[in-house]
């Protein structure tokens, strides 16, 4: 996958998407329909990655766009990238659905599978249909700055962040999956995020002064 192209497409489309969003905020339904056409494929992928139940994911995506229509007036193109804003709405909806589903039988059975040592692990289970979270993070890391910064993470840090970020696993679920104590996983994730942040900030500064 050529992620450099994808990531620049992400930014290149910003202008068009921002215009569609400001027209949607004024009640332009045609603009909103166009916005849906351009973005629903990505948002559905994001939701599906976290909420694997397809029917549930469809319901969530519908709620996402209903929320987007209602909240689009609060989008500020000066402060956020349209795709980042939209993806965040979708991610929050998907993560909240995991919280609601925590006591439901289907998810419990997923947890039991995870605990069963005879079962192939989550990465192997997903290998046949979709790339594992670590693969995704590696691909995402192709972008120049992130790539450098991802290299700075230890392998367990990278794996913990990937499981949490792409698949919506909680600290406890990541710990279960990696057979590590909860406290260890929490500190891996915390340190990974902080070193990512510092690294990205340093990279941005270097770019700014043209080194």
């Amino acid at each position: 996958m050529d992620t450099t192209t994808e990531r620049s497409a992400w930014a290149a489309r910003s202008h068009e998407l921002a215009q569609l969003m400001s027209r949607s905020a004024l009640g332009d339904r045609a603009a909103f329909a166009r916005l849906y056409d351009l973005t629903s494929g990505h948002l559905f992928a994001v939701v599906l990655r976290i909420q694997r139940d397809r029917a549930l994911a469809e319901d969530l995506l519908q709620e996402v766009y209903v929320n987007v229509w209602r909240a689009v007036g609060s989008f500020d193109a000066a402060q956020s990238q349209p795709m980042t804003w939209l993806t965040s709405v979708a991610r929050n909806k998907a993560i909240d659905s995991l919280r609601r589903a925590q006591s439901q039988p289907m998810l419990q059975s997923v947890h039991r599978e995870d605990e069963d040592d005879d079962r192939p692990d989550l990465d192997q289970q997903m290998a046949d249909e979709s790339p594992g979270p670590a693969d995704l993070l590696a691909q995402a890391g192709d972008a120049r700055r992130l790539d450098t910064c991802m290299q700075g993470l230890t392998a367990p840090q990278r794996q913990s962040v990937a499981l949490a970020f792409f698949d919506g696993l909680s600290h406890a679920e990541v710990a279960e999956h990696l057979h590590q104590p909860l406290g260890t996983v929490k500190s891996w994730v915390r340190r990974a995020l902080m070193s990512l942040k510092q690294c990205l900030e340093r990279a941005a500064q270097r770019d700014a002064i043209g080194v």
Binding site: M1, T3, E6, R7, W10, R29, A33, Y36, S40, G41, H42, F44, A45, V46, L48, R49, I50, E58, D59, L61, Q62, Y65, V66, W69, Q79, S80, Q81, M83, T84, W85, T87, S88, R91, I95, D96, L98, R99, S130, L136, L137, Q139, A140, A143, L146, V161, A164, F165, F166, G168, S170, H171, V174, V189, R190, L193, M194, L196, K197, L200
Partner: protein
């Protein structure tokens, strides 16, 4: 916890965006976001850092029903209107029917201009709806002015399949047609007042008459089921 501490605020924002802040802590953080601009700014910075990672996910086309659900939720009236209109609400249908009826109406006006001791009957010409597969011809329906009875008569016998009958409908300006009963395809049919809906002759209750082809005994559903073969507007 002291959310005003920048380090703590930033760490929480990171966990929130990464998705590891969960359960009650997540809802608590979301309610704090509403009140604290600095927290919102921290969240935005983390979104800028992390969310572009999702660009590597291959897009997944959602099924059409998702968009339909969005429309239904946001604009219920629009969604209702998007359903194909029944024939009695289609403008084009009546445009054709009333154009064809105008010559007949002129002829009737001449007839009706002859002074009569009583109020003239109300006559409606029901023209063929132009469907080539359907029987040709036209019907005349006349209400007595007091609405006491309705007589229908084809101008010439209408050929209808042997296992089908013709049913007459009163079409209101809004809503579904009401059946006025079965009518003969070859001769006069008299529909007595007690078989007519009350106030059938008021503009609010009837704006047109129509004839549909139905199975023996008439429409099983109470609404026209077969093709509408004749129709005419009622001008009161």
């Amino acid at each position: 916890m002291d959310y005003a501490k920048p380090d703590l605020a930033d760490a929480l924002a990171a966990q929130y965006v990464a998705g590891t802040l969960r359960g009650r802590a997540r809802s608590r953080f979301e309610s704090l976001l509403l009140a604290h601009a600095s927290l919102r700014a921290a969240v935005r910075r983390w979104q800028d850092r992390l969310i572009p990672l999702t660009a590597v996910l291959a897009p997944q086309s959602p099924p059409l029903r998702v968009w339909q659900g969005v429309e239904r939720t946001l604009w219920p009236q629009l969604a209702a209107a998007a359903k194909p209109l029944p024939w009695w609400q289609r403008v084009g249908f009546w445009r054709g029917a009333s154009g064809a009826a105008s010559t007949a109406a002129l002829a009737l006006a001449l007839l009706l201009s002859v002074p009569t001791p009583q109020a003239p009957p109300i006559v409606i010409v029901l023209q063929g709806t132009g469907d080539a597969a359907q029987p040709a011809g036209s019907f005349v329906a006349s209400f007595s002015a007091d609405g006491r009875s309705l007589v229908t008569r084809p101008l010439q016998p209408v050929a209808v399949q042997t296992d089908r009958v013709l049913e007459l409908w009163a079409v209101p300006p809004q809503g579904a047609p009401r059946s006025l009963g079965l009518i003969s395809s070859s001769g006069a049919t008299v529909i007595a007042r007690d078989k007519l809906p009350r106030r059938v002759l008021e503009a609010a209750s009837t704006s047109a008459l129509a004839v549909s082809v139905e199975p023996p005994g008439g429409s099983p559903s109470g609404a026209p089921t077969g093709p509408v073969v004749f129709a005419g507007k009622l001008t009161l």
